[in-house]
Amino acid sequence: MANTTGESALDTGAVGAEIEDERRAEAVRGEPPFTEHPASGDRLAAALKDAVIAGLIALALAGPMVGLRTETAIGGLSLSQHWLPVAVIVAVVFLGRLLLNLFVWRTGGRTKPITATSFRLLPSGEQLEKWRWPGLVAAIAFTIVMPFLPFADRYWMDQAIVVLTYCMLGWGLNVVVGLAGLLDLGYVAFYAVGAYSFALLATNFDLGFWVCLPMAGILAAGWGLILGFPVLRLRGDYLAIVTLAFGEIIRVVIINWYDFTNGPDGISGIPRPTLFGIPFERGDDGFAAVFGLEYSSIQRIIFLYYIILVLALVTNFVTLRLRRLPVGRAWEALREDEIACRSLGINTTNTKLTAFATGAMFGGFAGSFFATRQGFISPESFTAIESFIILAVVVLGGLGSQLGIVIAVIFLNTAFEVLRGLDEYRMLIVGLMMVLIMVWRPRGLVSTRRPSVTLSGRAKAVRGELVGEGSG
């Protein structure tokens, strides 16, 4: 008797991590118990009051910054006044808040946190599981035939190349952040090392793309080890800021070491890749002539597309393979609990270093592809914002999820392209979107985790909220 009651009590207590998480979230959400909420009767009044306050805040924010624009004039600065945009901003905030209060947040009493609202826009883990193989085959088939589809003109091919490059970068960073749980804000440094290694090797020693590519990857991995070694004792945000600093150090060194890197002027004349020595050029030795085709510049673009497609697929498959190997499992275990790892005889320093080096190597490959595609590189391409965007792709996609990264990259790239006409408003909107998406789905778009090994053969995805986020 005592046993059964005891057991059930334990069982309910042990559904565990989830409840604990909720409780913690609840606790720090933090309105104290004595806060009063308006009765539903005077909801309109309360909503109005709230909207007026929001409008006033918007006025305080936008009034001076938008309304009074400083203009450079002779003998100092002068002001020009722009009150219409201010009025628009305030009106939008006031009305938006009012409408939200009246029609969306009408749960009365305590409003539900926006993160708790479940959206069914994205497929669940099980649905994903069902469509996994057919989806994968279809996606790969599509990417292979894409250059020959009717819509694939120069613009689309360029976009596809950009998307694949960022997928590759995202997948590379995913090893470090998503699997090993190490927060790296300086990933662009390895991208830069790869690009510069490639460019310098190719221009100074006259080596071809296929020779330089692995060397660039190895050099980037080496830098991953060098940078990784001293910082591995750090945790969380400290690691983030140190990696950010490393990224900046590399950029500043590239800018200032003029003799070696040509400084801010960058390196030009980087050789284009060749197909077994056949260049994509007009002329008798060129690809078109050799294969008896009419010369077209799109041939080179298509070739570049296939190179990055292969590189990206290799990155993806190697990462997926590594996840199922002891080293990948150790990365994930490290993310879950470092101390437990050490108690099981895992050398956590080496494990972290391999994660850093692997991620850096993929970044280096992507960098050399970038260099050969552009034919010109300069430090401007490797700013911290680039690191932020790659990290944002990984986090928005869902840590550890290869598919999520693809979705996030396509989404962000589409957003960039759609907003292209808006010029300077583009980054503003992208920044705001990053905020909104994270608030909407803090765990990213695909948050479930596939087990790396199963006994039953049917892998059930692990719910995102159970998966650790790493402390380092």
């Binding site: 334990l10 991590a17 190997l325 437990a340 006994l455 039953s456 692990v462």
Partner: protein, 301 residues
């Protein structure tokens, strides 16, 4: 002669651990007999977990020697190693734990441990937890990843072995049906058992358990006793445990070490410790019968 005197697997000598000005352990010496279940007991704050953390390398002791003899105790070699500043003997029989970092203690000295507040890999499945525990073996089988990437047969065999070992322990702890569930979804008692199984998958010679019965109901406690006896009798593993549950301690321990304020106050077989007036006075502070009540409950439950 007792086993902990004739053939100790672990000897702790003059262990002292200070945190700043606080002396957590003061000149503590004891040994763990090969094939024994040894319990460290003592009131809260007596320094039990600190001893554990020193033995498993998570803390570096301020002073003292901690040595493990994997096959046979050998005082002569031990002295030679101590004087020579080495970590382990050439045949890897004697290892000085106070000179080794934590992960090497788990890997080379084959000491496995569990934690007071369970530390499972919650977002990984039960089976994956047991695979991570076999990391070093699998790493070797995968030729440090290179062979694994290309799917060489050696790795496949290594993986099959790992699966076999995991399956074996899952059957022992009765979790075979939940092998593919996330570890964080398991009930509390099952999480405790899984942590022990995970430690066993590392292939240890000495198993250190930090309060394995904490939070278990009487039935689960009894099951734990059976599991620990099984580990000792069938696998010949020595067990060192910290425990508050006197039912577990008195019933299964071959040897009990009692700590109070970082010092040893009693050391001997269960019957000896149970009747040691020093233990009753300093640690229990209550009548003798009180000690036995939970023991009987545990046995009948």
């Amino acid at each position: 002669m007792n086993r902990w005197e004739s053939d100790p697997i672990l000897t702790v000598e003059h262990l002292t651990m200070r945190f700043g000005g606080l002396v957590a352990i003061d000149d503590l010496s004891f040994s763990v007999g090969r094939g024994d279940i040894t319990a460290i007991i003592g009131p809260n704050g007596a320094g039990k977990t600190t001893v554990f953390n020193c033995v498993t390398g998570f803390y570096k002791p301020t002073e003292g020697r901690i040595a493990i003899a994997l096959d046979k105790a050998d005082a002569e070699t031990l002295e030679r190693l101590t004087a020579g500043g080495q970590r382990m003997s050439e045949d890897r029989n004697i290892l000085l734990l106070d000179r080794m970092p934590d992960f090497e203690i788990a890997r080379d000295a084959r000491v496995a441990r569990t934690f007071q507040n369970i530390r499972l890999f919650g977002g990984m499945t039960v089976l994956e937890n047991l695979f991570v525990a076999q990391h070093n073996k699998l790493m070797l089988a995968s030729n440090y990843t290179i062979g694994g990437i290309f799917g060489l047969s050696r790795y496949r065999k290594g993986q099959d072995d790992a699966l076999g070992r995991a399956r074996y322990w899952l059957e022992q702890i009765d979790l075979i049906d939940r092998a593919d569930d996330p570890a964080a979804d398991l009930p509390y008692g099952a999480q405790r058992r899984l942590e022990i199984a995970r430690a066993m998958c590392t292939g240890p010679k000495l198993l250190c358990l930090d309060e394995p019965a904490a939070g278990l109901n009487p039935r689960e406690s009894a099951e734990l006793n059976t599991l620990l006896r099984f580990i000792r009798d069938e696998h010949g593993i020595s067990v060192l445990l910290i425990e508050h549950d006197m039912g577990v301690v008195m019933e299964i321990s071959d040897h009990i070490v009692v700590l109070d304020y970082g010092e040893k106050i009693s050391d001997g077989a269960a019957d000896f410790v149970r009747h040691d007036p020093k233990v009753i006075a300093a640690y229990l502070g209550v009548e003798d019968e009180e000690v036995e009540t939970p023991a009987e409950q545990g046995a009948s439950g």
